[in-house]
């Protein structure tokens, strides 16, 4: 008999019974299969009713994040051989409302992402649409923000963050990391605009430095460091604004 592995999936169908349950599938074990490959096998061969998100299969699109044995992971880059001969449990990403089976509603994250204005802001708005001029940047200037620019919006960090789970108003790790990314881009002039979102109760000061956002990030963005650095920046700005009587 060929080797087999068991996967237990969370199931939720709002149109049927609306119950949040689990279902176990036994599938052939292949050493080179990712968990996403296993899900595609279940969908194609065993049960066409399961729902999950995926697209690129190469840890670029950030769609296939799930709780794999309780930890947020991208299923396209997590392999069965990491768990075999043990079993695998798959749940939808924690801290988000479940739409169906393994699919979560990330509209809260999307709204927060927009609020941080994750694009280059220029004081002279003409600059933003003027394609005739170049905004040169040295490799050293790029190094400052490059790590945080690698975020793929997979929201694994939100699923790992207990602060976001307990206080959903928290704008969260990825959004702050992206705010940091643009604030530290030498071409950007939008720091003051982003301060309103970053430097308040629901912004960086909500973070209590659990640090799991950094641990689970598949792109090694280190949102935790970005948040703590933004706290330092926010505190210094506040201090100088009080000293000079401007701003805040």
């Amino acid at each position: 008999m060929a080797d087999e592995i068991k996967l237990t999936l969370s199931r939720y169908n709002p149109d049927k019974d609306g119950e949040y349950t689990t279902q176990t599938y036994t599938i052939p074990y292949h050493n080179d299969w990712s968990i996403l490959d296993a899900l595609n096998h279940i969908k194609a061969e065993l049960d066409g009713s399961i729902s999950y998100r995926w697209s690129c299969r190469m840890a670029v699109c950030g769609s296939c994040g799930m709780m794999v044995n309780g930890t947020p992971r991208l299923t396209c880059s997590t392999y069965l051989n990491e768990f075999y001969p043990g079993e695998i449990s798959l749940e939808p990403l924690a801290n988000f409302p479940v739409v169906r089976d393994l699919v979560v509603d990330i509209s809260d994250f999307m709204a927060k992402l927009t609020s941080i204005k994750p694009w280059i802001i220029r004081k002279n708005k003409k600059d933003e649409v003027d394609v005739s001029s170049e905004y040169l940047q040295t490799p050293a200037q790029m190094t400052v923000y490059r790590q945080q620019s690698l975020c793929i919006n997979c929201t694994l960090c939100y699923a790992a963050c207990p602060v976001y789970g307990l206080h959903p108003e928290f704008i969260g790790p990825a959004v702050i990391a992206l705010g940091y990314r643009y604030n530290n881009d030498s071409r950007d002039e939008g720091k003051e605009e982003r301060r309103k979102v970053l430097a308040n109760e629901a912004g960086v000061w909500k973070c209590t430095v659990v640090g799991d956002c950094t641990e689970v990030c598949p792109k090694h963005v280190d949102p935790s460091a970005a948040i703590q650095r933004t706290k330092v920046d926010s505190a210094i700005s506040w201090f100088f604004s009080k000293l000079t009587g401007r701003g805040e």
């Binding site: 309780g70 924690a94 409302p97 739409v99 169906r100 190094t143 307990l166 209590t208 799991d212 703590q228």
Partner: protein, 133 residues
């Protein structure tokens, strides 16, 4: 023909139990670090009471020392010491990640953390020298 309007799907919200922090070792360590703040404050109060006792003269200081030698006080100081040590180590680690940068011309996170330890040891030796001399 009826054109379906944008449907609002009934989503399922999972509740977070009060024991969420027991699920992962990193969460437990986080909670211990948060708890360590209480012992840091307690330690600070102990040190302040010592300074106050010293300011009140030799008898007051002797009474403070005598009071500190009970089994319970020694146990409390061991617990406070361990929590303060843990608090310090986590701070040093995080300061490396805040102020350190990878790349040329900057101190790496590990170097910043190491620098913290060096400064800590140097200051501790200095304080020890002042007290013992």
């Amino acid at each position: 023909m009826n054109i379906p309007s944008a449907e609002v799907t009934k989503t399922y919200r999972r509740s977070i139990p009060n024991t969420w922090w027991l699920k992962k070792s990193s969460y437990v360590l986080f909670m211990l670090r948060e708890l360590s703040s209480v012992f840091v404050a307690l330690y600070a109060l102990c040190l302040l009471s010592l300074v106050y006792a010293v300011s009140q003269g030799p008898e007051s200081y002797a009474a403070w020392v005598a009071g500190s030698q009970s089994g319970w006080m020694i146990l409390l100081h061991v617990v406070m010491g361990l929590f303060v040590l843990y608090h310090t180590v986590t701070w040093f680690r995080i300061s490396g990640r805040i102020f350190g940068r990878e790349g040329s011309g900057a101190l790496s996170p590990a170097a910043v953390t190491a620098l913290n330890y060096v400064i800590w040891i140097v200051i501790s030796l200095g304080v020890m020298y002042i007290i013992l001399s």
